[in-house]
Amino acid sequence: MVKSNPSLTRPLSPFMHYDKWPAMFLSILHRITGLAMTAGALLLVYWLTAAAMGAQSYARAQTVFACWPVQLILIGLAFSFCYHLLNGIRHLVWDAGKGFDLKVARASGLAVLLGAVAFAALIVAVFCMRGGAA
């Protein structure tokens, strides 16, 4: 017979539960993709500013966006956009007090991750077909 140990039965602070793979990974990924899109917003404004300044600066911007490291960044941004948006909706549902059941939370996490990969692939495919330099 195991004696009741108060230090084991006491509830933990909620943040202490973020120590398992899916929840912890998905949680930090929300933050990482958010910061990635802060950098992405700089790229967006650079692109718009180049367009506003005229043909010469826009042509320069187009060569910047066409080089492969920037293309790689744009693919990363497509995933960041999809993941942060979908997981953001997941967070809003949690804010409404729903979806906290462990099974539901795990399923929604997996759905968000797979959905983000699928939508990102769709966006990349569409922009590759349409514009070449995405």
């Binding site: 933050r31 917003a41 718009l48 506003a52 948006l85 967070h91």
Partner: protein, 131 residues
């Protein structure tokens, strides 16, 4: 001293906000901009995909549309605001002391400046000033 069953001073109870001082304003603004960005973000990606070209003429024509220019300006403003709120939380989580305040102020300046630059660029294209 009167007996106090709630762990709060009478003044604290009257003010109602406790040590956080600013209450839920930051949290609520983050949610409201999140909902706005869900809609504006989907519009941005779909609308840009429908343009079908990244040539300057096509982009200028796209932004030249009044509805597109308005939504794009709103998208940039909401994006800058939401990003500022998020970056502030990240700084607050990982940095302490005076450096924390300095970084938050710098981040706020940067967000307002970049947001303004983005909106002004959209307006310049929309009004046809661009060469």
């Amino acid at each position: 001293m009167t007996s106090n069953t709630q762990l709060r001073s009478p003044l604290g109870a009257a003010l109602g906000l406790g040590a956080a001082k600013s209450g839920v304003k930051h949290w609520w603004a983050q949610r409201v901009t999140a909902v706005a960005l869900t809609l504006l973000g989907i519009w941005f990606v779909v609308s840009l995909a429908l343009v079908g070209s990244f040539e300057l003429a096509a982009i200028t024509q796209w932004i030249g549309n009044l509805c597109n220019a308005t939504l794009l300006a709103l998208f940039i403003a909401a994006l800058a605001y939401h990003s500022q709120l998020g970056v502030q939380v990240v700084i607050e989580d990982y940095v302490q002391g005076a450096l924390k305040t300095i970084l938050i102020v710098l981040s706020n300046f940067l967000h307002v400046a970049v947001g303004a630059l983005g909106v002004v660029s959209v307006l310049r294209i929309a009004f046809g000033v661009a060469a």
